[in-house]
């Protein structure tokens, strides 16, 4: 079965979504990611969606959910690399991903995670 790989970088987990997101894949990712956060005792999750050019309300809510779950498991979530069209779509759908931190690219997202978990 198709899966989205979850990479470990020190205390953080890196998820790069490079395929078309469909609902089942999103649900699998939720399962895998929560398992990995617990298993690796990760302090932060970085989700790179720079290859994602289509989003719907389900995917938007899923990203929100993942952030919520990670927070409960004491890991910060940063969503990076959102495309302008995707951002506009999400705003028009009324999903402003409140509570999810964002950054322009992986580099900035990493810096954000480093800064916020040091303290």
């Amino acid at each position: 079965m198709e899966r989205i790989p979850i990479l470990r970088m020190g205390r953080f987990l890196l998820v790069t979504i490079q395929v078309d997101m469909h609902d089942q894949l999103a649900l699998t990712l939720q399962d895998d990611l929560t398992e990995r956060i617990v298993a690796d005792r990760a302090k932060g999750v970085l989700i790179d969606i720079s290859s994602l050019d289509v989003v719907d309300s389900f995917i938007g809510r899923m990203i929100s959910n993942i952030a919520g779950m990670s927070r409960v498991l004491d890991a910060q979530t940063v969503v990076v690399g959102m495309r302008p069209a995707v951002a506009i779509t999400l705003v028009e759908l009324g999903l402003d991903l409140a509570g999810v931190r964002t950054a322009l690219n992986v580099e900035k997202g990493m810096a954000l995670l480093q800064n916020s978990t040091v303290a």
């Binding site: 990076v80 959102m82 302008p84 506009i88 028009e92 402003d96 322009l104 900035k108």
Partner: protein
């Protein structure tokens, strides 16, 4: 029956095409042409072509000026109106091109037809035809002008939404004019594109030039802020005038999620502090 009635016009035009053209050009010169020799030459060519196309249109006995045989004449008129509209001629000047044809045609009709009632009939038919062509000219003129206006509107839309880079990682978006949905769309897109291109982490939206802020405009602003945040850029709204601050509170618009500053200068200092840059000199000292 009808064809034979209207024949005089057709025949007169065919027989005296050259004379009518000469008279018409004189008439146009009398009314007054603007421009130089090159333009006069151009006008002569257009006039000759147009008269030929009128003859062509009349060939089938169609004096209505609307049938398929008139396609060429309409084409010439449309091109003429279009070029005159862009050159800044007035609609009357443009329509006069066609209307000035009346005088020479009437003169020829008068010398050709002796019978009074037949002459009246021919006059009437000619008037109808030329009026119709004149109206067509005006319509074409207007159409071209409308195209110009809509193009300018589009350009204005783009011109009025510049995104400027103030400093490393700091963008400014000075908004001028009222924000409506289509405008917001353009603003949002250009801001987000610029965020990607420049890698900026802070955007200052300056609304000094926005005349009024109502709930709809506020909603559009919040949408822009939310979209920028999704891209990882913080927004600061600046340039809020005292009246607008009052309006915002009276309307119950919630701007608590956004940093707001009274002036662009203040917003810029906040942005500098957040990005960790600083300007040496008195500016920072005064602000602190």
């Amino acid at each position: 029956m009808k064809a034979s009635e209207r024949n005089p016009l057709v025949e007169v035009l065919r027989k005296h095409e050259a004379d009518i053209l000469a008279d018409w050009l004189k008439e146009q010169a009398r009314i007054g042409t603007r421009g130089d020799a090159a333009q006069d030459k151009e006008l002569r060519n257009v006039s000759r072509e147009f008269l030929a196309s009128v003859n062509e249109g009349l060939r089938d006995g169609d004096v209505e000026g609307s049938g398929p045989s008139w396609a060429r004449a309409r084409e010439i008129l449309f091109a003429l109106s279009a070029s005159r509209a862009t050159q800044g001629y007035s609609p009357s000047e443009t329509a006069t091109f066609v209307f000035s044809l009346k005088q020479p045609v009437f003169a020829r009709l008068r010398s050709e037809i002796t019978d009074a009632s037949a002459l009246a009939e021919a006059f009437w038919a000619t008037t109808l035809l030329i009026d119709r062509l004149g109206l067509f000219t005006t319509e074409a003129y207007q159409k071209t002008r409308e195209e110009v206006i809509s193009r300018q509107q589009r350009e204005l839309l783009e011109l009025s939404t510049p995104v400027v880079e103030l400093w490393k990682d700091i963008l400014a978006l000075p908004l001028i004019g009222t924000l409506d949905s289509s405008r917001t769309q353009v603003v949002m897109e250009s801001l987000l594109e610029k965020i990607v291109a420049s890698g900026a982490s802070i955007a200052i939206i300056d609304i000094t030039g926005v005349p009024t802020v109502d709930t709809l405009v506020a909603q559009h602003l919040m949408k822009t802020v939310a979209a920028a945040r999704l891209m990882g850029a913080d927004c600061i709204i600046s340039g809020i005038r005292p009246q607008i601050a009052q309006t915002i509170v009276h309307l119950g618009v919630d701007l608590s999620q956004v940093t707001t500053k009274a002036s662009l200068a203040d917003a810029f200092l906040v942005a500098l502090a957040r990005t960790g840059s600083r300007i040496e000199g008195n500016v920072q000292a005064e602000a602190a």
